[in-house]
């Protein structure tokens, strides 16, 4: 691990320095979720055996949530109370479904990940080495549900997989060698968007 001289001694052991990445997001980046103006306050960087992703803590002053950034894709999720049936339910297997108010979510991803660093303001301590087990579920319309399990117990959140174009980012971090692209026309044929959209 690289020990940075500007890290306070108190932080070592609880917070790791954050390995840099190419993400255009940063603390202070603004975004719009459901017509509400959010600001990025902090981030957790999670690693699993074969990859890594960012969990950005976002707040609009009333309803804090998370913007998950993985491989250039975004999901917005808000914490919910754990449904009682999931308190002791066995961990799902890939392909299992969950009926949430009539919408069927399917388990598409099971991972165990380790926190390898964090920055900024977070709603809980995210020490480096904190291990979290994830079950991610998707609905046919792109709804997103996540069940997490860690030493602090299970956490449940719900939201949606979203297009970066639709988040109205502001105050992005510059990326060397790249220009922030203009918002696309859906008719350009990018398969990120469904046919005929």
């Amino acid at each position: 691990m690289v020990v940075r001289s500007d890290v306070s001694v108190a932080a070592i052991g609880t917070m790791a320095s954050l390995p840099d990445d190419i993400s255009p997001l940063r603390i202070g980046t603004g975004l719009v979720v459901d017509d509400r103006a959010y600001v990025v306050l902090g981030r957790i960087r999670m690693y699993w055996a074969d990859g890594a992703w960012n969990e950005w803590f976002i707040d609009d002053g009333t309803t804090p949530g998370w913007l998950v950034e993985a491989q250039g894709f975004f999901s917005v999720a808000f914490p919910l109370p754990l449904p009682p049936v999931l308190v002791d339910a066995p961990w799902p297997v890939l392909g299992a479904t969950l009926d949430l108010g009539g919408t069927i979510y399917r388990v598409s991803d099971l991972k165990e990940a380790t926190c390898r660093g964090s920055e900024g303001e977070l709603p809980f301590a995210a020490p480096s080495g904190r291990v979290v087990r994830y079950a991610d579920l998707n609905s046919p319309a792109g709804g997103f549900v996540s069940l997490e399990d860690s030493d602090e117990g299970r956490r449940f959140s719900s939201g949606a997989n979203v297009h970066g174009d639709d988040l109205g980012f502001s105050n992005l971090r510059p990326v060397e060698g790249w220009v922030e692209p203009p918002r696309r026309a859906r008719s350009d044929g990018d398969p990120e968007f469904p046919p005929g959209s």
């Binding site: 840099d20 190419i22 890939l94 920055e119 900024g120 970066g164």
Partner: protein
């Protein structure tokens, strides 16, 4: 927001690619998707590096000769409204028939990744989906897709960087669906199901975007394709002859009675029947061996019925099935959608003849109150379902399985003298009842 902590560290003000030295040969390696890419292959010596950590580790010191793909790593091109940079390249081949194709991993820090796939002169641009695709054949996003093929894709060559631990020898099971110019692709390994949406592109479009020479993108004339076609001609003719024979054999019933319905009944139930056992009259299955299909139908709409069925026969031989009938329909910003079906069936490959009866335990969404609308529920809401038992169902599945087994073999043997590895079994879904519905 208790336990808030002050920032001990902040990311640099500008994001940038990472440049490192290959621990094997010292050559310069650029990691374009810095912080996302997990592996990078050194373009100088071909060694595979783990770039997921600040300390670069050598995964595989190969010192193999690298060959530059037709669109070089690092090239940029404007496609579907976005400027993309080629970050990675892999060749993959079907593990059963040896058919190979190339995939470019395209990257833009604001738009993520796309896969540009070249299969001879066909080009498809794919984007990973983050939504469930219940069954593309039943319709998805207003289009009806046709299944084009399934297989095991094995990675045979990698260059550049990847956001997963890409290795030669990686295998995933694949299924592809087409409703031209759109495609859906499903890839599954142990812990992940990945659906991707693709759109066919003209070779000329790709050529213009990345400044390629026209004879390359028009396809068909590349040395690889031409030589493959020549060499496989003989094997293909053997395959065609075998398919014709198989088709003839399949169509001749050999005296077996086909699709005989041996039992059928509609059940009328209410919440009082939930979990109780309904026992049917005895029905007889002919002594001739063969398959048997249990079909369950229910007129469900935005609801579900699940039946625990035991078919008990002579000497208490028991066949168990848990058909789940669910059908959902709705409207969202993408238009109308539906998933599931009002009919489902389970086929047993070999059921001996004799006298049987069914024990059926019904469960249904309509037996219970909807937590969102508890006042609308009536305990006496009828739930009807029909169970049909059919003997000697013509199984085109068997035909396709035989076809799949028959066709690739000579081709495969021609390319690979060794035996193919067994495909990884798909994880069987965990019984969903615990998960639906939350109270």
């Amino acid at each position: 927001m208790s336990d808030t902590q002050s920032p001990p560290w902040r990311a640099p003000s500008a994001a940038r690619a990472r440049v490192l030295n290959c621990p094997s040969c010292g050559g310069s390696v650029t990691v374009r998707a810095n912080g996302i890419s997990i592996t990078a292959v050194c373009s100088s010596c071909g060694s595979t590096l783990d770039v997921s950590n600040p300390d670069v580790r050598l995964i595989e010191e190969v010192r193999r000769r690298t060959h530059e793909p037709p669109i070089a790593i690092g090239m940029r091109g404007l496609l579907v409204g976005t400027l993309w940079e080629v970050a990675g390249f892999q060749s993959r081949a079907d593990a059963t028939n040896g058919w190979s194709w190339d995939e470019y991993l395209l990257f833009n820090p604001y738009r993520g990744f796309r896969f540009l796939v070249q299969d001879d002169d066909d080009w498809v641009l794919y984007c990973m989906l983050r939504q469930d695709v219940p069954d593309p054949v039943q319709g998805f996003e207003g289009r009806r897709y046709t299944q084009r093929g399934t297989g095991i894709a094995r990675t045979t060559y990698v260059l550049g960087e990847f956001y997963w631990r890409a290795r030669v020898g990686d295998e995933v099971s694949t299924a592809e669906y087409i409703d031209s110019p759109w495609l859906l692709s499903r890839e599954q390994n142990g812990d992940e199901i990945i659906w991707s949406r693709g759109i066919q592109l003209e070779g000329e479009t790709v050529g213009t975007a990345f400044g390629l020479q026209s004879d390359f993108v028009s396809g068909g004339v590349s040395g690889k394709a031409a030589s493959r076609n020549e060499r496989t001609n003989g094997v293909i003719w053997v395959g065609v002859a075998a398919v014709i024979m198989l088709l003839l054999l399949h169509m001749i019933p050999f005296g077996t009675s086909r699709s005989a319905v041996v039992f059928g009944r509609t059940f009328h139930t209410t919440a009082a029947n939930e979990g109780s056992t309904l026992t049917t009259e005895v029905f007889t299955i002919s002594a001739k061996g063969g398959n048997l299909r249990i079909t369950a139908q229910a007129p469900v709409f935005n609801n579900w019925v699940e039946l625990g069925i035991s078919m008990v026969g002579p000497d208490d031989i028991t066949f168990n099935a848990t058909p789940s009938i669910e059908y959902y329909y709705g409207q969202d910003s993408d238009g109308s959608w539906s998933e599931g079906s009002q009919s489902t069936s389970v086929t047993f490959r070999s059921v001996p003849g004799g006298d049987y009866r069914l024990l059926i335990e019904p469960y249904a969404g309509a037996y219970r109150a909807n937590p969102e609308n508890p006042n609308a529920w009536k305990p006496n809401t009828p739930v009807d379902f029909t169970v049909t038992v059919t003997r000697h169902v013509p199984s085109w599945g068997n035909f396709w399985i035989a076809l799949l087994l028959l066709i690739p073999y000579p081709i495969f043997r021609y390319f690979f003298p060794s035996t193919p590895p067994a495909p990884k079994p798909d994880a069987s879904p965990w019984p969903a009842s615990t998960w639906k519905p939350p109270p």
